[in-house]
Symmetry: C2
């Protein structure tokens, strides 16, 4: 078993919540303040701040406080790593199906020649 | 806020654990019994069965008991849905960066013409 980096655990955990996915979705359209992130969500500001902490902990989002406003923005690197992990698995799986298909095609060809 | 289907919550939750990712990784190479899945993991069989339940609940894996052996295999659809969600967000984010780049290029061109 290859020990995988903990960050991937945290990224997938962060993505497992619909409120956090909504926040990320907002941030793909550009940086936003915490209250802008809270706006479409039916929850208190402290709850949004907690979700933001999970997103920051995962490396998916970073925020910066300028004056009294905290501005959040997406960090594409973590998103890309999660996508890459899934993509690699899917490709491995599809290759296996292709090999299986080739094998079955050869089998039925051999059977045809035997007849 | 668009209510998203719960399955995506469960898929990302299932992916957030390294043991479950190792199990999935094994299954990309073909179907496996529960003890084959357990083999590279330093944990008890009941713990592996619990992880398997999470994977099945998420739709990433299905299993079938034939005689005394439970055989597990990957369900590519759920994996693809999770990948698609991330991919859509990443593309939205990259488009935004492209538009920003175009805007900045036009700005500096306009400034050049003003000089």
């Amino acid at each position: 078993m290859n020990p995988e980096p903990a960050p991937l655990d945290r990224v997938f955990h962060a993505l497992a919540d619909p409120a956090r996915r909504t926040m990320l979705e907002r941030l793909t359209r550009g940086p936003a303040s915490v209250s802008e992130l809270a706006q479409p969500l039916a929850m208190s500001l402290p709850a949004v701040v907690q979700h933001l902490a999970v997103l920051e902990d995962s490396g998916l989002v970073r925020s910066e406080k300028i004056g009294r406003v905290r501005t959040c923005q997406i960090e594409a690197g973590s998103l890309q790593r999660a996508e890459q992990w899934i993509n690699d698995r899917r490709i491995a799986w599809e290759r296996r199906l292709d090999r299986l298909g080739d094998y079955l095609a050869r089998q039925s060809q051999d059977e045809g020649e035997d007849r």
